[in-house]
Amino acid sequence: MRHRSFLEYKGYRYLKLALFLCVSAIGAYVWHRHTHFNTPGGLGYGGTLMGYALGTVAALTILWLLWLGVRKRRYGASLTMTQGWLSAHVYLGLALVVVATLHTGFEIGVNLHTLAYVLMLVVVFSGIYGVLVFLREPGRMTANMGEDDVPTLLLQIQEIDQQAARLALQLPDEFNTLVQAAAQKTRLQGSVFQHAFRTLARGCPTHRAVERMQQLNRKLKDETARQGREVQGLMLARRTAVEKIRSELRSLARLRLWLLIHVPLSFALLIALTSHIVSVFIYW
């Protein structure tokens, strides 16, 4: 049976629901705008009856979307599948952009209300990015790692280091230094941003060992030349393994980085939304 991603859940059930929501919201807005809407100057705003209705739908949708954070941490048996929740989360989140935009009446200003709207947009668009990342990165990770995994690669690197250290003993000092530096100073793990912006590989000792040994090998002769090539071969293998691990960690960082925007801004949005509602009714 073919794997069905959360986007195709139950024959795009929630895509259909979201489309229905969008179409009915747009229909209601257009109908209201042409029959009941009578603000001076023709400026739209969220304070009409239709505005309150759309705003209520949007606010309830936001609360439900936030509830995913609670739902996905409940591991007990449930009548619904988390995959279905995720599917609905994605599609209803997209529909929220339409409903909330209609709620604004296309009136944007420098105020709390627009802040809440912009926060909502940033959260949704970071979520769209997250969906794209989750569609793309797992496949890349599989292709990158092939038969290996990170612990295997680390063991391979250890082995390479032992072999290289043994071989380098019979070679000039610089070989030893390079091998030692590669073994001890190569950084595989970095912060989220170092992975995301590829700054981790800057001045990597393994890379330097490969490049430097290329030059050093030209000066070696006979038996030592063969050993030099072998050490360089080991360093090449080491570089491949190191880059594989880094690529893996980079993918992991990408899978996580967008959540650093998506989740905290969701909470900020919740507070801004509450303030928005309170402010509207304090100064009714």
């Binding site: 009578n38 391979q156 909470f267």
Partner: protein, 621 residues
Amino acid sequence: MIRCKLVETIHPDDTQVGARVGRAVSGEMLSLGRAAACKIFLPDPRIRLEHATIRRAEDGALYLEATGPVAIDQRAQTSVRLAVGQKISIGPYDFIVEEVEDGPDKPDPRLTLSFSLRAPVAGAADAAKAGVKVGVVQGWLSRRALSWVLSLVVLVLCGAWPVWHAFQPVAPLSVPANTTAAVAAQLRAGHAAQMPATGAMPAPSTDAGRMEAQLKHWVAGHGQRLDTFWNPGAISSAHQGFAQDCRSCHDKPFERVTDASCTACHTQVGDHVSDPTIAHNTLTGQRCATCHKEHQGQAGMRTTDTVGCATCHGNIRAFTPLTAQGNVSDFATEHPAFRLSIRQRDAAHTVQRVRQTPELRNETGLVFPHDIHLADKGIKSPTGPAATGGRVVLECASCHALDAAGVRFEPVTMAKNCQSCHRLSVDPQAPEREVPHARPEVVEVAVREIYASLAVDRYPVSLTTVNSLLQRPTGRAPASQSTAAGRWVEQNSKRTFQQMFAKTNGVCTTCHAVVPEKASDKAPVQWHVPAIVETSHWLPQSTFSHAQHKNAACVSCHSAKTSKMASEILIPDIQSCRTCHAGAKPDKEKVVSQCDSCHGFHPRKEHPAFQQAALRTGAKP
């Protein structure tokens, strides 16, 4: 078919002496790797699933072909022919080729390999030893920490602080009831300016006190700014002066803006429905803000559009079942005929609003055929040039002049507009002598005076004594002569006066409807000229302006050229307006006209503040 004997040397507990365990595998091809399907199964994570294969080449020799790193006698190789004594290192395993029987004549080569695990894997702890966890270093950048920080920032700046400010006590603002709108706005503006952001700071003596005062001052000022951060839209231009403080209008938290907030300044706005019963039945629950929505941009509060009016007037009976008004939803499709405000010829000259029909007449007491005056060939005038036979061609503007505001026309008066042609001469012999345009008894005296003066020329001898009061008569004139002059004056005066009022085209009856009155049967006839009741403001509920319509010819709306009687009403009917004015829906070559193009919602109260508007739209009739 390769037949291979595998001998594994196991070193239990790291002892030097190992136990040798043998087994046999066979196949067309021997794979080495950690995959369970491999013939030579090497369970170690450092080894690939399929690390290498041993196969029989076409020359019958056995070859090892590596896909992973393989060292033969410590040299990395990818393909090598197997030979006795070779040491093959695959990851942590060392293989030694002990026997090989191969060659082109041997279809089933034999092979003996002994191997041992050189460096057993220490387990998952090795990964930790290498200092790498499978994951990413996050440090302080945890979702939870970021969520708390951002939420608190938003909560304090956008929520708590403005809420705190909203509940601060505000100094009561009193606007005297009779204050004009402008003054009240100033008062409110002054109230806003008293807020601590611009107000003078108190100067306590101690440092601590000063610090506290400064803090309060700063908090109050910035709290106010945060408050305006809640403002959902631009304040209308008129309200910007005092709208920096939300509570100028929003009196109490969680309560809607009351009408009292509006009428505190707007004292001169009339009610839409004057009848309190109808107002109660129809407008209960309606607030100023139902129509006048603030925060809608600088021009926001001024107008409301047709949809707002038609919600009630589109089905007016649903709101006031007994009303005489018709439904109005759109000027083009549903708008009744105009109701003309016509001044009546009763004693008080009351104004009645009458629905306009083609048959409607307005008796003013004036005799005036527009068609004769506006005839293309002209009309005879005493001042007309001889070349045209004394005819003058008149235009509308010859008599009707726009008022100063350009809205309606100045009243037409005898002296200004008529008398240059319609001279009040009494005798053809002396056309330059005119009676005043006044009441009949004044005119009667004036006629006598004119004839008396004419008598002086006619009978110079017999009228020597002019004034008996200033000088004594030197002698009496002969009775016959005196009687003749007196009789002449008497006869001519009476005849002419009679002709002026009784003759069909007399000097007065040309324009006026004259009524003869008798106190009794024997009493002489008294002529009575009823006052001309002129309606000057036919459509006071509309804001029509002639200046706005000056590009149209007068006759395109007013059918004056065919009007034979002054009682005909020349105010154009609604169909005439509709030839140019569409309703709210755009129409080709027509002007879109909303309700407020002609009508206002609030009736005006008389007030100095509205003098400018009164000048523009004309005084009430």
